[in-house]
């Protein structure tokens, strides 16, 4: 009955943690996951993924999901 949470890059550094596990009780959306685990207001341009798929902050989550938070991606090359 838990949700795995992951943080990357500047979000990870700001929160001082790269992952977390939270009880799924009372958790309905990605925003709920953020609030329970991060405990600060979401930064501008925050991106999220549920089970490795890009997700909106209002997307539903369920028991066993992996939810990730990160800033805009900067891979590839200029």
């Amino acid at each position: 009955m838990s949700i795995t949470v992951k943080f990357f890059a500047s979000i990870r550094m700001k929160l001082g943690k790269s992952h977390d596990t939270i009880d799924c009780k009372g958790i309905a959306t990605v925003t709920d996951v953020w609030e329970r685990s991060a405990r600060i207001s979401p930064p501008a341009h925050l991106l999220a993924a549920v089970n490795q798929e890009y997700a909106s902050l209002g997307q539903a989550v369920r028991d066993g999901d992996e939810v990730a938070f990160f800033p805009p991606v900067t891979g590839g090359q200029e």
């Binding site: 890059a9 890009y54 991606v73 590839g76 200029e78």
Partner: protein, 143 residues
């Protein structure tokens, strides 16, 4: 088709040769190869870059690179694709990414290669942190 994420430095041209020679189905069947290699520069936004850390979300990166390659091979008649992407600690002049596309025709090879690198940049979860004179800074998408 092959997608590879590497923690250590690689020689993109050697990877192309090695991959191509291991694909006998390509022999005589492709007329066009288009390759893109992204390399770490020693400058960015007017500042000297001494090193770069490339962070990624491994399972999501793999999933999305596979999807992008699949999309490219659905849209254009291509014979094969090789994608290699570095992560971890990089030095200037290190190759970051390699995209190689083999096809019967030039236009398909160019378009598919361009599609893969453009989509990769937009969708694959990588984050660059540069070591510049003053310390470290996260690269922003506009940078």
């Amino acid at each position: 088709m092959k997608i590879q994420l590497l923690a250590t430095a690689f020689d993109p041209w050697q990877e192309v040769v090695r991959y191509q020679s291991g694909q006998p189905h390509l022999e005589g069947k492709f007329g066009a190869t288009t390759v893109f290699v992204g390399t770490l520069r020693d400058f960015n936004q007017g500042e000297a870059v001494r090193a770069m850390t490339l962070e990624h979300y491994a399972p999501m990166t793999e999933k999305h690179l596979e999807r992008i390659v699949y999309e490219a091979s659905s849209r254009w008649p291509i014979a094969d694709v090789l994608v290699v992407h570095r992560y971890g600690e990089l030095s200037p002049n290190d190759p970051i990414v390699l995209v190689a596309v083999w096809s019967a025709h030039r236009d398909d090879a160019f378009q598919a290669c361009r599609y893969v690198i453009d989509e990769l940049k937009t969708r694959a979860p990588f984050w660059k942190q540069e070591t510049v004179g003053a310390g470290k800074r996260w690269v922003t998408p506009e940078g």
